[in-house]
Symmetry: C2
Subunit: 347 residues, 2 copies
Amino acid sequence: MVGIAEKEVAALQKRYRDDIHARLKQAMESYDTPFFDLLRYHLGWLEADGSPSAAETGKGLRPVLCLTACELAGGDWRSALPAAAGLELIHNFSLVHDDIQDQDDTRWGRATLWKVHGKSAAIAAGNAMRVIADRTVLALTESGVAPAMVADAEAQFIQRYLEMIEGQYLDMSFEQAEQVTVDQYLDMIGKKTGALIESAMYLGALVGTGDRDVAHGFGSCGRRLGLAFQIRDDYLGIWGDPAATGKPVGSDIRRKKKSLPIVHLFQQATSAERTSLDAAYAKDEIEGGDVQKVLAMLDAHDAPAYVQRSAESHAEAAVRDLDSLNLPADAKRKLEAMAEFFVTRSK
Amino acid sequence: MVGIAEKEVAALQKRYRDDIHARLKQAMESYDTPFFDLLRYHLGWLEADGSPSAAETGKGLRPVLCLTACELAGGDWRSALPAAAGLELIHNFSLVHDDIQDQDDTRWGRATLWKVHGKSAAIAAGNAMRVIADRTVLALTESGVAPAMVADAEAQFIQRYLEMIEGQYLDMSFEQAEQVTVDQYLDMIGKKTGALIESAMYLGALVGTGDRDVAHGFGSCGRRLGLAFQIRDDYLGIWGDPAATGKPVGSDIRRKKKSLPIVHLFQQATSAERTSLDAAYAKDEIEGGDVQKVLAMLDAHDAPAYVQRSAESHAEAAVRDLDSLNLPADAKRKLEAMAEFFVTRSK
């Protein structure tokens, strides 16, 4: 089953990839002062020395979901390309700033933008990326989308990425918090990860049908897919295969991320375990023996199974969200494959 | 004369102040999760501990110019309040990020946002401020402005603040540059400072008249006023009275800012002076005796008079930009007072 879902998603990615890339190039075309080369570096189009590059950068999931939603809803996916490109740009805006906030040195096997050009320049470049993202979504008018519908699309897009910004803040502030409840955690990842995937599917379906109710159905599905995606991410952040994820075992434990496994553990811990946990989390970074202790406690409380079940239940709810839309069987199958891929992927 | 211009501008500030403040409060109203208290701290509405505050924060020049332009163009200034509030918010977005980029500890006599909440949180708060700024400008529809005109206003607003973002980047990159020409300098401040003041007057006039040509005339005037404002700022950054500016003598020299006096000096320097300048600017920070040397060279090349004349010529050109619009004498006088204040202010 895993293999089939992966193949189906890979086929979707391949189907849209070149057109997404071309639309991104078009979005950046008119920005030709040296400042904008910083954005091109981040996007993998230029090397740090300004020479051309074709680096691999990200899975492009948001644009693929946008175009898929457009097509499954019965529209011409090409008309949603400005929205797809805008989503990829806003995602990259957040990555540029996230890398500064998290002090990450590398992304996609390359030095992060701030590592090459400094934090101040990278803040500005991220800000510019966000402006171009907005403008690219507004270019939906060029696909023949009615102005009022474009205004609706842009308003939804803005609302969702404001949630994303707040979600990133909450994620960071949770690292300092003593205790985080599952509800707080779900609210945070709904904002940090769910909101933009919601926007991707909402925009695709809106452009595809011009029907706000259908778009809301797809958006709701996207939000839940986002939860499933993030929870699987949390799973991989602790139990992922280092060879696939590129991160050491227990990576999220070391960084004191309040990911779902840890939130679950803090809630389930016995008072003896809690004392030991509090001691570990009082340190600036969790290392060596403490990582092993936390891993053992997670196992004792069946955290891997709990977390995986949680991801799957959100993926199932996502698929159910579309029941009322009476999609063709083929469309439904594609969505199910996407949902399955989200919770079975190994990187 | 100085006194009259200052009084006239103070009267305008007083006339609009309460309404601008009320519109800002309204713009922030629906953002009630704890994250948005960071924005309220920056705006001077909350103390760091969350208790209410009424701190003095900034001159509010951009909203005042927006409302003034609206009124002088013959419109009802109240209808431009969403634009005025949006301008103040976007200005504050840039201040929040600038303070991080420039590592400034205090602003308006208070700890900067990043100093209180950390850089990562302040980046996110700035990003959120920008979103609220956009939305506030879009609320012009509530003033009865036609949707197509609001779209035009928002497009111009976005274009100008993208320039502002690039200008901030250029300003920082000039600090590392060996030589900057006057043209490069003017391009940079046109973007960093001119663009948003252009937007302020464009939006005010557009809302006031619904006439894009009139708006462009006011916008062009604003751009030049912005140049005049920034050049006067450069003057004060070196020769301002520390008691008025709150900065030490030669402050911009110490920080190696490529402000107009320095750009002028590098262009005029004899080869002996240039050697001495290069030695001073090769250091991380310029201190003590080197500051005095640079100050002496600036005097030898009449830099104070050159810089002040430059500011005044841009202010005069700004006023001339409006000649073709045949404004009433009273309107013209108000603008002249504003222009004069920009180049004579002592802080």
